[in-house]
């Protein structure tokens, strides 16, 4: 199917009516459907297995995909990418082990839902939310890719600084009952992220001459330990028999629960989509923002952290929207927003295709085939995963004495596979102990993880901004986007302090 298309209608981002049929005809070709299915299944499996991320999987498969057609190669890699976004939620919900960094937030309410016998509802709404967000992203790509890609280009290092600060402020003011503990955890997480080699100067920072620390800490090991291993230690400590003691409830949300979940999916999609256009903004951040928004606008925020369906729906929709949105700058400008998309970019180049505005002109069939397959892939993910909800939900009935060693073994393998390092495994197990202690003492582990994720991009953006301005801090307030984000951050902090004061929650000790 290689070749050039020509004609006045082939402008990037603008779809003329009859081309919609062509898009789906390309995507529904049997070979493309097969590649899409393989990608989705592999991606879901990758997402379920902690440690083996979509980037590593795509890198391993890249050489194999050179034997496929360009469409087949990109379709398969794309399927792995957004399949992994969905798969990561399965273990988050069932055993409190996030499969991906973007699924960390799903643990907060997903696991409590499983403990209440509502694992089926959680898994179902995660699948539905992923579908809604993915479909929205594809539709936007079909009709206005260029417009949104240009929006993403308005963000430079100063704007990134405020995005990160906004994110950190949200984490600190949202998580846990104690503001002081949340701030401390965020700072500790950011400090942990700073350990290792400084990316600008190449100097060792806070390693104290110990070689394993030169590479820094791996985020996968950290969150698997803080959530997964900690949960197993806690269950052994409290002699809890299983994730769920009792009967499984409904496998699918109904009535008001479904309505709340769907509304949260819609909001999460919007929250996750725009930031997905920005390089370097990890889906974990957008999923947190979506969760934070739901909690703040809810009439009963006390439900969050104890099995609120919105706490699963919104983050899952957000992380899928972010993943989908990342294809817009990739296809329109050749700018990958994540490591996985960088591999997709490499695949395009290997096939002799240059992403950018000319991709839609010279290889319209490829570009639209990929877009069509994304929609088909989203439907495929829903079809693959919804029927399995009942099967997955039954895992919550397995006693901890059987499930515990299995989860610990998976965490071991997952932690090791990131960098082939036993140091990461040791970090995973030790952070499990830390996570257990934090849970008992009311310290929010989510704040530590998000501080870790946001700390590095914040520092890099700040240093880039100051390098651009020659040290003048005023660069952070030059553009209207920067000022808006700064104002939003201040408003968030002020609102949070007002809420704390008016509820008089105090600091539990």
């Amino acid at each position: 199917m290689a070749g050039q298309d020509s004609g006045p209608e082939r402008r990037p981002g603008i779809l003329i009516g009859t081309r919609i049929i062509d898009v789906f005809l390309y995507a529904l070709e049997p070979t493309n459907l097969l590649y899409c299915a393989i990608g989705c299944i592999l991606g879901t499996a990758v997402g379920v297995l902690p440690g083996l991320g979509p980037a590593a999987t795509c890198a391993m498969l890249l050489s194999l995909t050179t034997h496929l057609s360009p469409e087949g190669s990109i379709i398969m890699l794309a399927g792995i990418y957004y399949g992994a976004q969905y798969g990561g939620s399965t273990t988050s919900i069932l055993v409190n082990v996030p499969g991906e960094a973007s699924s960390v937030v799903t643990c907060l309410d997903g696991f409590p839902m499983a403990q209440q016998g509502r694992a089926g509802e959680a898994l179902a709404i995660a699948a539905i939310g992923s579908f809604i967000a993915g479909t929205f992203g594809v539709v936007v790509m079909m009709f206005s890719a260029n417009f949104f890609a240009n929006v993403g280009l308005q963000f430079g290092p100063p704007e990134y600084v405020w995005l990160m600060v906004f994110g950190l402020a949200g984490v600190a003011t949202f998580s846990g009952q104690s503001l002081l503990k949340s701030i401390t955890c965020v700072a500790c997480g950011a400090l942990l992220a700073a350990i290792g080699l400084d990316p600008v100067s190449g100097l060792q920072r806070l390693t104290y001459g110990w070689p394993p620390l030169i590479g820094g800490f791996e985020v996968v090991s950290l969150f698997m330990g803080l959530f997964g291993v900690a949960e197993i230690i806690d269950s052994i400590d409290t002699q809890r028999p299983a994730v769920l003691v009792g009967k499984l409830g409904h496998l699918f949300p109904r009535g008001q629960e479904l309505a709340r979940g769907l509304a949260a999916c819609a909001r999460g999609t919007l929250v996750g989509f725009l930031p997905g256009l920005l390089p370097g903004l990890v889906p974990a951040i957008t999923s947190f923002w979506a969760y934070d928004l739901e909690k703040r606008i809810s009439k009963s925020p006390e439900r969050f952290g104890h099995g609120a369906i919105e706490g699963v729906a919104a983050p899952e929709a957000a992380n899928n929207a972010t993943a989908q949105a990342g294809f817009i700058p990739l296809m329109c400008f050749g700018i990958p927003t994540s490591g996985t998309l960088a591999i997709v970019l490499a695949a395009l180049i290997l096939h002799g295709l240059q992403p950018g505005p000319l991709l839609f002109e010279r290889h319209a069939h490829l570009a639209w085939a990929v877009i069509g397959s994304m929609y088909v892939g989203n439907v495929m993910l829903l079809i693959l995963n919804l029927p399995l909800v009942g099967l997955w939900a039954r895992l919550s009935l397995i006693p901890y004495r059987i499930l515990g060693p299995l989860v610990l073994g998976v965490c071991f393998v997952g932690a090791y596979s990131s960098r082939n390092s036993m140091f990461d495994v040791a970090v995973c197990m030790l952070s499990g102990v830390l996570g257990f202690v934090m849970k008992k003492r009311g310290w929010p582990a989510i704040a530590l993880v998000l501080g870790f994720l946001l700390g590095d991009p914040l520092e890099q953006s700040l240093r880039q901004s100051l390098a651009i301005s020659g040290g003048d801090m005023a660069v952070l307030f030059h553009t209207s986007i920067s000022k808006t984000l700064a104002a939003l951050t201040l408003a968030l902090v002020a609102f949070a302090l007002y809420q704390k004061r008016s509820t008089r929650s105090g600091e539990p000790e």
Partner: protein
């Protein structure tokens, strides 16, 4: 010592060590200016200072707040069972590079099952062996995920 104060002291230790290391790095960078406008040490100095401030506020809060119940102050953080589980996990981590993942799993999975409550020992051994074989089949043979290899090469 009340546990709340212990946490604050741990934070002071962490913040203090990080601050000293950052200041040392900053002094080394001074004449070289390798870090650009904002060097690599200034950020960690700021974070360390923030942690130390939070620790100080925690201590103040503890001293000014209501006293904890005696049971809370006296109870151990980790029970004997959880401590044993942690010890087995860390032993597994220490042994795996020496004996390899496969042999390590054959030894430690039964131990983990025993600690997690499977009785009797023979059942733990069977479960552990099955789990070790399953891990080999799924992760090593099928998915080709790298695992630690010991002296025997597997």
């Amino acid at each position: 010592m009340p546990i709340g104060l212990l946490e604050a002291l741990i934070l002071i230790g962490v913040g203090g060590v990080a601050l000293l290391g950052s200041i040392q790095l900053d002094r080394q960078l001074g004449p070289l200016n390798l870090g650009g406008v904002l060097g690599p040490a200034r950020y960690t100095i700021a974070l360390s200072a923030l942690i130390l401030c939070c620790a100080a506020l925690l201590i103040l809060q503890r001293l000014r707040g209501p006293r904890p119940a005696p049971a809370e102050a006296a109870s151990p953080v980790l029970s004997a069972r959880a401590t044993t589980l942690t010890a087995v996990l860390l032993a597994y981590v220490a042994a795996a590079p020496l004996v390899g993942f496969v042999i390590g799993s054959l030894v430690f999975f039964p131990l983990l099952y025993q600690v997690c409550g499977v009785r009797p020992w023979s059942r733990s051994a069977v479960y552990g062996a099955v789990m070790a074989v399953a891990f080999y089949a799924v992760f090593i043979w099928l998915a080709r995920i790298p695992v630690p290899r010991g002296g025997l090469g597997f």
